[in-house]
Symmetry: C2
Subunit: 341 residues, 2 copies
């Protein structure tokens, strides 16, 4: 049974113990996917996955049948389980919570060889629509404090399956990375009565040195203190705390921005492994300061983290990063890439 | 020129920009070390490194000559530079510091094929003695707020050279990971008038479930909320904030504990990549609470982090971890490994 444990020396750091995601204690590294094996995410193999929880089927058809463009299924090896009551517990000095949550897979396409950025804009929009639909559904479950959507591409970025897919994990606690951004933005607002996210975006648009792409609703840049070479963020240019409140029109513009940036990264960096993460505001939280509107505390955004070098002792021991590439250099390089748009 | 930058959304997170550590923007992944190339760390190749800053030469001899057992040299591709004044600077919204610090390599042995845990106890003690000597020297430089010692083994753990070596980085800022432990332990002390590190150690010794090894001065266990499968810590059983105040007798006992644990990990997990990190208290900091003795705020310790799986989107997006192996299972497994001691 999965379990969450809190580290006593780092009280904001929870670790999800997911024993069912491996077979034996020494089953490391995870055996690479045999290329000849049957892909459970391909069209026609719907019976190899758990029952779908969402799908986009332009022609209609019953659940778990072919004809879908995007399909969402529970993870076969979930890090967290959907059934049960939350039971936070103290064990002497230590804290634990039973492993309640959700772990879903967003299968982005029936075609195993078509990367997200290869797809037509409508199909990329459908993937984002699936993210939104699943968040809107799961947000109703009051056991969950946060819903995290991410995508791992390439073995060096932790992907175990090649077929283009994203993942969603619903958590009973708010991620420390989100809490920290909220706290920082709250202090900023109290001091300046401005949104920190807006200030960062304005600084980037004004300077242009780290800018990668811009359309009418979204801007993309390599952040000032990028952790990774070619780290690239996509932010809405309008105030918005929650990704799932995005309307269809803006979803299309986001798809355009995302596809554009992913194409430049893939072509410029020769198909790198990367993680893509969605950062959105948490739900069901007592509002810490009733007077601060959510969109002043947070702005949802997407971060693309190319994994060109390994995190090592320095990163894990300090919480800092060593990065060999200034974001100004990374952005200039990405701007020069001629990608077919 | 290297530079430190602070992330506005995570004000405790600094990123070290070290452009000299790569050749070209798209020089990723770093070219693997050609096996036929000349190893700059081997005995006889002393002229291939910068001038040594420390060495242990049982038979004597001039600097930068053979005959050493442990040798410390500045890193040829330093993340930070030793020369100059610290210049913290604001750039609009953003903060930066010029990249002042130290980056040294501790060459653990003249023999490229002898891993740290293969060596006789005296030689392991010498490596720890070199750590201590370098910290004692660098601590006098008031520009540095922290001295971080670590070791990367294996490509998956970020190592670029095979020859057994550790690294030392002196930083002008305190790592956020250290600050967080200090803050947590301070709150604990104010509430309970006890050291949090001591409470954790007592809990581990009492339960024994996560214990891996123990001698008269040190204990080793897999921590309650291990981030990584088989993560293993080594803590002194006596109060001590600073590693560099350790005497020779205890250095020998630490070498024994470290060698024992590394041998079990290597044999049990079949030569895994790992990071080893030294966590010690910071220097030159104004004492936040004069009434709290340093050894109540911090206990130096070593963490060994096997890198059996890749950190992925979940880890970077949340600051949490997914771990497939409970520490109780990991410790029981490591206790069963029959290593030649």
């Amino acid at each position: 049974m999965p379990q969450l444990r809190r580290e006593p020396l780092f009280p904001k750091r929870w670790v999800v113990f997911a024993p069912e995601r491996k077979q034996r204690p020494i089953d490391y590294p995870p055996p690479p996917e045999p290329l000849s094996s049957i892909c459970p995410f391909m069209a026609g193999n719907e019976d190899l996955t758990p029952h779908e929880v969402f799908a986009i089927r332009p022609e209609g058809g019953p659940p778990d049948s072919p004809g879908w463009r995007v399909r969402v299924v529970p993870n076969r090896f979930p890090a967290l389980r959907i059934e049960g009551e939350l039971l936070p517990e103290g064990v002497g000095l230590y804290d634990q919570i039973n492993g309640i949550g959700a772990h879903e897979v967003i299968i982005e396409t029936p075609d195993p060889d078509q990367e997200l950025e290869d797809q037509p804009l409508g199909a990329v929009t459908d993937v984002l629509r699936a993210y939104r639909a699943r968040i809107i559904d799961l947000v109703q479950d009051v056991r969950f404090r946060y819903i995290f959507v991410f995508k791992n591409v390439g073995m060096l970025a932790g992907a175990s399956l090649r077929h283009p897919h994203s993942q969603l994990i619903a958590l009973p606690v708010v991620p420390r990375a989100i809490e920290e951004q909220l706290e920082t933005a709250r202090s900023h607002f109290e001091l300046k009565e401005r949104s920190l996210f807006s200030d960062v975006l304005q600084a980037e648009l004004k300077s242009g040195d780290r800018l990668v792409y811009e359309n009418s609703a979204f801007a993309s840049f390599c952040p000032w203190a990028s952790r990774f070479p070619f780290e690239t963020w996509i932010l809405p240019k309008f105030p918005a705390a929650y990704f799932h409140t995005l309307d269809d029109y803006h979803l299309g513009l986001l798809a355009e921005a995302l596809r554009h940036v992913l194409r430049r990264i893939r072509k410029g960096l020769r198909n790198p492994a990367y993680n893509m993460i969605l950062q959105t505001a948490p739900f069901h939280l007592p509002r810490v300061r009733e007077s601060i509107p959510p969109e002043m505390e947070f702005r949802w955004h997407i971060e693309i983290l190319p994994r060109l070098a390994q995190a090592a002792g320095f990163e894990y021991g300090t919480g800092f990063y060593i990065n060999t590439t200034f974001p100004e250099e990374a952005a200039a390089f990405l701007r020069r890439v001629r990608a077919e748009m």
